[in-house]
Symmetry: C2
Subunit: 336 residues, 2 copies
C-alpha cells in the first residue's frame, strides 16, 4: 500500500468513509466505541494527517446525478446529452433519471439517488419544493437547478433561460411582417417556472414592442382536445401569429393546422420555444426562440463542479442564458 | 421504530449495511472490535434473528442500471422512457447512462455502475465484448442485452428485433408500386449487430420477394459527405426506392433530397428503420419499418426482473420482436 487513505481505514474498520472522515475531523455524532475503533485503525495503518487532502480527493466518487422531466422531449434529451459529454470530458460519470413530469417519480428517483455514491446532482425540477428536493438540500449535497426555479430553494445555484431577448426580437419581426394581434399559448398545468416566466415576459414585451397591438394569452394542457380548443379561441380572437411556450403544444397544433388545410407561414404564422430537430425537419421549417440548451447544460456542469469544490455553504448565484430567435418559413406576412 | 433492521444497526454503529449483514451471519473479515461493536449494537436495539428475511429484503436496492448508445436518437429515447416507466411500475428506480456510440464512454459508465448499489442492468451495447461488458458478466450481475447482440456473450439474455417481417412486407409493397431496383443504405462503422442484420436480411429478402429485381447496397458513416456520396451512388445505379437501416442517415438524406428539389414519394421513394416522431411530422410523412421500441423495452424489463429473481446461472434465451411496416406518403409509384 503506497499510502493510507480514509477509504482504507473505512474498509479495515468496517465503517463508512463518511464516518471515518467525520471522526478524524471531530465531527458527527458517533458512539465513543466507534470513535475509538476509527482512531485506533487509523493509527495502526499509519495514516498521517498531511495525507488528508489526497485522501479526500480519492474518496470523491467522480459521479454526478442528473434528473430531467422527460427524455422523449428532444429539448431535454439535447440538454442531458451535452451535460453528459461535458461531465465525461471533466472525468465524471453521469447517472441520468427522468420522471415523466410526475412529482412522485421525481422524488422516488431523488431518494434512490441519495443511496448511491455521488458527488452532486443537477436537477430540472417539477413544481414546488417537494419532499425529495428538500431531502437533497438538507443532506447538503452539491446541487444545481437548471431551467426551472423552485420557490423556497433560493440557496441552490440556478441556471435559467431569459425569455425576454428572444421574445422581444420575435415580436419586432412579427410587427415588421404586419402582425398586430399575436396569440400566446401557455401551459400552466406543467407547473414549470420557466414556461410560466415566458407568459409573463410576453405580456410585458407586447406592450413595449407592438404599441397598440393585441396580445391574446390562452392556456392548454397536454391533451389534443385542450390544444385544439386553445387554437379555436385564438382563431376566434382574430390573431394572425401564434407563439407557443412549450414545444409539444406547438407540434400538436402544427399537425392540427395542417389537417385543417390552414397554410402555416401564410394563413397563420407560428413561433415555438425550444430549438428541437423536428422543427428544422418540418416543411415549412418552424421558427423558434432557442434557449440554447447546450449552453445551459455546459453552464450547469460548470456551476456544479464549482459547488462540489466550494461546498454548499457558499452563497448561490442565478445565471441567465439569453434566448435567441431563429426565424424560418413558418412566419410570413400577416393576412388580415 | 416499528422493528429493527440491519440498516438501523449500521446507522447507529456508524458501519456499513454490508458489514452488519456479514458480521451477523459470521461472514467477512472484520476486526474483533468491529464484530463486538455490531453485535452489541444489535442487542441494544433489540434486533432479533427471525427478522433476517425482512432485513435482507430491505437490503435489495430496487435499482437498475440502463445504458443506451445515444439519447439524442429518438429511437433510444423512446426505448429508455418505456423501460423506465415499466421499471417504476414494478417498484424499481432506473439509473440511465448514454455513451455517444463510443466504447470508451460505454466502459467508463459500466465500471462506475459496478461501484453503485444496483440489482441488475439492461444494456444496448456497442461493438464487441469490451472490458466493461466482460467485467459486468464476471461479477455475475443480472444483465440483459437489448437491440444489439455481443458475439461471445451468448450466456446473457438478449432481446432483439427481427428485421425480416418488416423488410419483406416493405419489398412486397414497393414491388406492387412498380419498383424493381431498390437501394439499401447500411452503416457498418456503427458496429451495431442489429443494423448489420438488416443488411443481411435485405439481401435475402430481395431475392425472395422481387425475383429478377436488383438490390443495391451502399454503406455510409455519420458525416454528411458520406451520406451524400451514398445517395449519389444509389442514383447512378438507377434505384427508384431507398431503404435506410439507420434513421439518422435517413434524416440527413431526406434533407439532401429536398435541397436538391427531388420530390420524395414521387421521384424517389424512401423507407427508414425506426418509428420516430420526426418521421410522422415531416411532409410527406416517412414510411418506416418499426422495431416496436416500446415492446422491446417492456420485454427487456420483464427478462431482467426474471434474471434478478433466478440468478445468472440459469440458461439465457434470445427473444425476437418482429418488425412491422408503416406505409406513408414517402412511397409512391415508381418513376422509371
Amino acid at each position: 500500500m503506497a499510502f493510507v487513505t480514509i477509504r482504507d481505514i473505512a474498509q479495515e474498520a468496517g465503517v463508512s468513509v463518511t464516518a471515518v472522515s467525520q471522526i478524524l475531523h471531530d465531527k458527527g455524532r458517533f458512539s465513543q466505541q466507534t470513535r475509538e475503533l476509527v482512531r485506533q485503525t487509523a493509527e495502526r495503518l499509519g495514516y498521517v494527517p498531511d495525507q488528508r487532502a489526497r485522501a479526500m480527493r480519492s474518496a470523491a466518487t467522480q459521479t454526478v446525478g442528473l434528473l430531467v422531466p422527460d427524455l422523449r422531449n428532444p429539448y431535454f434529451a439535447d440538454m442531458v446529452s451535452s451535460m453528459e459529454e461535458e461531465l465525461y470530458r471533466r472525468g465524471f460519470t453521469t447517472l441520468i433519471g427522468s420522471y415523466g413530469e410526475r412529482v412522485d417519480r421525481q422524488d422516488a428517483f431523488l431518494r434512490s439517488l441519495l443511496g448511491q455514491r455521488i458527488d452532486g446532482a443537477i436537477v430540472v425540477p417539477q413544481g414546488g419544493l417537494s419532499q425529495g428536493l428538500q431531502l437533497l438540500i438538507e443532506r447538503k449535497l452539491p446541487l444545481v437547478f437548471v431551467d426551472r426555479l423552485v420557490p423556497g430553494a433560493e440557496n441552490v445555484p440556478f441556471v435559467v433561460s431569459d425569455p425576454k431577448p428572444g421574445l422581444e426580437e420575435a415580436l419586432e419581426r412579427l410587427a415588421g411582417l404586419g402582425h398586430r394581434a399575436i396569440g400566446f399559448v401557455s401551459h400552466s398545468a406543467l407547473g414549470s417556472f420557466s414556461v410560466n416566466e415566458r407568459a409573463k415576459a410576453f405580456s410585458a414585451a407586447i406592450r413595449e414592442r407592438i404599441p397598440g397591438g393585441t396580445g391574446v394569452v390562452v392556456d392548454c394542457n397536454s391533451t389534443v382536445e385542450s390544444r385544439s380548443s386553445a387554437l379555436e379561441r385564438l382563431n376566434n380572437a382574430g390573431v394572425t401569429a401564434i407563439i407557443c411556450a412549450y414545444s409539444p403544444d406547438a407540434i400538436t397544433m402544427l399537425g392540427l393546422l395542417q389537417e385543417r388545410g390552414i397554410a402555416i407561414g401564410d394563413a397563420v404564422s407560428l413561433i415555438s420555444f425550444d430549438d428541437i430537430e423536428a422543427f428544422r425537419l418540418m416543411v415549412p421549417q418552424v421558427s423558434v426562440i432557442s434557449q440554447q440548451a447546450d449552453a445551459m447544460g455546459r453552464l450547469g456542469v460548470e456551476m456544479l463542479i464549482r459547488r462540489i469544490a466550494s461546498g454548499t455553504e457558499v452563497a448561490a448565484h442565478t445565471h441567465y442564458v439569453p434566448t435567441v430567435l431563429h426565424m424560418r418559413g413558418s412566419c410570413g406576412v400577416a393576412v388580415v
